[in-house]
């Protein structure tokens, strides 16, 4: 077992151990913090696929995070008010079922990623950053003016959605759901990175010409990665909305895109557990420094600056060094 694999296991075990301890110590707020970290980690893992493996700096991943959130909010609010979403041509009712909401969130963010990616991936570099940002802002301003679902004020959902056999209002049980999703997503992306697809995607980041001259279309690789990445981030959005029982246009904002990027850069771009460590450190800083000062972001900024300047490969790179080949 490599050092990195051992590190991954320890990190994931710690993330599970803290809320379990908090459950027995009757500290539900700590469980909520861990749940938040796990959700952010899922969003970061989604972004890391395109940023780390594909070299695509997307500043519009909040689009998918927001779409996941709004998928949850819209379905749950209609279930809450017993008003169908549509009556004609087919009757579509709202739902409080988490699995159904997840499917809708995955589909909505996947379709959006396909459309946005198909256009954005025709550009590269700074143009790609700007076009993804523009899409994000488009959705943001749409959500602000969408008064049917709260507009600028957002929308509250009174009860957390249901999952068969679990009491989702119990913090530890909801954490369990999120943690299982984190494991699924982490294992899925770790497998994907090692697969032929992952190898080709990573090579396309390093040399587009190389990939093309062996007969592999880099655009198709990037678009597929973008869709998978958008879906993962969309799922995180749905879970985040359920955690807070609240959605608002800020889920679509460019600050959210920036935060997701911070998790990845802080932890380690292209490192499979980078986003998990990044999200945990972010939440920890938010909690501890946020208690000391309202201006805690300045410390986060300083840390980010130090990491970018002195720790190539983020905190994981600092702790474990460069990733070995063939891992």
């Amino acid at each position: 077992m490599s050092r990195e694999s051992i590190f991954d296991c320890v990190l994931i075990l710690c993330l599970a151990a803290v809320p379990i301890w908090a459950h027995f110590a009757e500290e539900p707020f700590i469980i909520t913090l861990a749940t938040r970290a796990a959700i952010f980690a899922i969003a970061g893992i989604g972004l890391n696929l395109v940023l780390g493996q594909g070299g695509l700096v997307s500043l519009g991943h909040a689009t998918f995070f927001g779409l996941g959130g709004y998928a949850m909010g819209i379905l749950a609010s209609h279930a809450q008010t017993y008003m169908p979403l549509s009556e004609w041509p087919i009757l579509i009712e709202g739902t409080k079922s988490m699995p159904v909401i997840w499917v809708v969130a995955l589909l909505a963010s996947g379709i959006a990623a396909l459309l946005i990616g198909a256009l954005s991936l025709r550009t590269s570099g700074v143009y790609f950053i700007m076009i993804t940002l523009a899409f994000g802002q488009m959705f943001y301003y749409f959500a602000v003016s969408w008064s049917a679902y709260g507009g600028d004020d957002g929308l509250s959902i009174y009860l957390r959605n249901d999952f068969p056999g679990l009491n989702t209002l119990d913090p530890i049980q909801f954490f369990l759901i999120v943690f299982v999703w984190l494991l699924v997503v982490w294992i899925f992306t770790a497998t994907l990175i090692r697969s032929p697809f992952g190898l080709a995607l990573n090579a396309s980041r390093q040399s587009t010409e190389r990939v093309e001259t062996v007969g592999i279309n880099p655009y198709h690789l990037r678009l597929t990665a973008f869709v998978i990445s958008g879906m993962i981030t969309g799922l995180a959005g749905a879970l985040f909305a359920d955690l807070n029982r609240f959605i608002s246009p800020s889920m679509f904002s460019w600050q959210t895109s920036g935060e997701i990027m911070v998790f990845v850069i802080l932890g380690g771009v292209a490192r499979r557990s980078g986003p998990i460590l990044g999200a945990v450190v972010f939440i920890a800083l938010e909690h501890f420094l946020g208690g000391l000062s309202d201006y805690w972001h300045i410390y986060l900024g300083a840390l980010l600056l130090l990491v970018v300047l002195f720790a190539r490969g983020g905190l994981i790179g600092m702790l474990l060094g460069r990733e070995r080949v063939h891992e």
Partner: protein, 248 residues
């Protein structure tokens, strides 16, 4: 004479006032090595770019295995059987030598959309990649990071990747550059045998290698073919001596 596998017909390319290619007719037939020589700035790399699909000619056409590929992408041309090596190595430097070679095998077997199972453990692709690395003498470096290879070894790796494609045509842009005398001789010997598998369009500045290998030579000067002929014809041509070879 057999039909050409690769052919350019009257291709022209200009960049503003600079004429990089003017009515270039070139062909490559089965079993031969056709060398393309010329001074720096003659338009060799632009021509290779047009043949490989990186640039579209302003006029004229390019035919690969009987098919007009003038408007086709690099990807389509690679799938049709064109394998190219680069003057400046285009490799995934952070990846291992084996992983780079696997890319070729992946392109050949069309497995780039396989999402599960480790790429390095996939038996068919791995044996293709290892076989190619063995042939170019890089098998001992399979697990090394590509950025750690010497310049010459990177050229060998480029050739290994081209071999995994099992192509119908090789287009090699200065494969001897940076190899040193011994390396050049070894590669010359290797390419000599390779022409039986697929013909090679060879752009090269190492004249010893070119004269040892080429069945035909085309001399490109200021975007135009000065002459196409055998080694002796080219060596004895006064215009070529003046423009490129000198009076040696």
């Amino acid at each position: 004479m057999n039909k050409p596998l690769l052919e350019t017909r009257d291709i022209c390319k200009s960049f503003g006032a600079v004429r990089a290619a003017h009515k270039i007719n070139l062909d490559l037939r089965s079993g031969e090595i056709h060398a393309l020589i010329g001074p720096n700035g003659a338009g060799k790399s632009t021509l290779i770019q047009q043949i490989a699909g990186g640039l579209i000619p302003d006029s004229g056409s390019i035919h690969l295995c009987g098919e007009d590929v003038t408007k086709q992408s690099t990807v389509s041309r690679a799938r049709l059987g064109l394998a190219r090596t680069f003057q400046v190595s285009a490799l995934a430097m952070e990846d291992s030598v084996l992983q780079n070679t696997l890319l070729g095998a992946m392109g050949k077997t069309r497995q780039s959309f396989k999402f599960f199972g480790a790429a390095v453990s996939e038996p068919t692709m791995r044996s293709m990649a290892e076989h190619a690395l063995e042939r170019v003498g890089l098998i001992d470096y399979a697990r090394s990071r590509t950025s750690e290879l010497s310049h010459g070894q990177r050229r060998q790796l480029e050739i290994a990747i081209a071999l995994t494609l099992n192509p119908k045509v090789f287009v090699m842009d200065e494969p001897m550059a940076g190899l040193g005398t011994e390396g050049s001789q070894q590669l010359t010997q290797f390419l000599d045998g390779l022409r039986e598998e697929a013909p090679i369009l060879l752009v090269e500045h190492d004249m010893d290698a070119v004269f040892a290998l080429a069945d035909r030579i085309s001399v490109l000067v200021y975007g135009e073919i000065l002459i196409t002929g055998t080694v002796d014809e080219v060596r004895s041509n006064d215009a070529v001596r003046e423009a490129y070879l000198g009076s040696e």
